[in-house]
Symmetry: C2
Subunit: 103 residues, 2 copies
C-alpha cells in the first residue's frame, strides 16, 4: 500500500483503457483524426452499444475526449503519445523471447 502504488493504479487504469484489441484499434484509428461512433462501429465490427461502452470507458480513463456536433458525437485522442509507444512495442519479441533486449 505505498503511495507509489496509487500512482501505479491510476496509470494502470489508463493503460487498461488501451489494452483491448477493439479499443486499441479505435485509438489507432483516432490517431488519424476524430471519428463518430458509427464510423468506429464499422471499423470494429461490433454492436454499436459495445463500441459505445468501449468509448465511454476510454473517455472515463482520460484517453479520449468527445465533442457533440449535430446528431453525432465525435471522439478524438486526448494525447498524442501513443504512436511512439506503439512503434517501440512493435519491436518486442513475444513468447520465450530468448534474452535479447530491443529498443
Amino acid at each position: 500500500m505505498p503511495a507509489s502504488k496509487t500512482v501505479s493504479s491510476k496509470r494502470a487504469t489508463v493503460i487498461k483503457a488501451l489494452a483491448h484489441p477493439s479499443r486499441l484499434l479505435i485509438a489507432e484509428a483516432l490517431m488519424e483524426g476524430e471519428m463518430c461512433v458509427c464510423d468506429l462501429k464499422d471499423l470494429v465490427g461490433a454492436d454499436m452499444s459495445t463500441v459505445s461502452k468501449h468509448l465511454s470507458l476510454m473517455r472515463q480513463a482520460g484517453v479520449l475526449v468527445s465533442d457533440k456536433r449535430g446528431l453525432n458525437i465525435y471522439y478524438r485522442l486526448a494525447c498524442d503519445c501513443l504512436g511512439d509507444f506503439l512503434r517501440c512495442l512493435d519491436q518486442l519479441a513475444p513468447k520465450k523471447a530468448a534474452t535479447k533486449p530491443c529498443c
Copy 2:
C-alpha cells in the same frame, strides 16, 4: 477483420501485460534495474505464486526478459520506452475530463 486488426491484437497483448496495478508496479520498479522474484513479491505484497504468474505473463508478452543466476531468477524490462509513455499518461485528466487536450 482487416489485417490491421491482427497487428492491434498483438499490440493489445503487450499493453495488457502492463495494464494491471501490480504488473505496472513491477515494470516501474524494473525501470531502475533488474530484480528477482522475491524482491518483487515484497514490493507488490502478494503471494509469490501470484507474482510469478504476473511475471510469466509479462515475459510471454515480451515485456520482460529473465536471467537465472544461482538460485534466483532476475527479471528486467525488454525495452526502455515505458518512461516517456508514463510521463505523458500522467498528464491525462481522468473521468469526464471536459474537453481539454493535454500533451
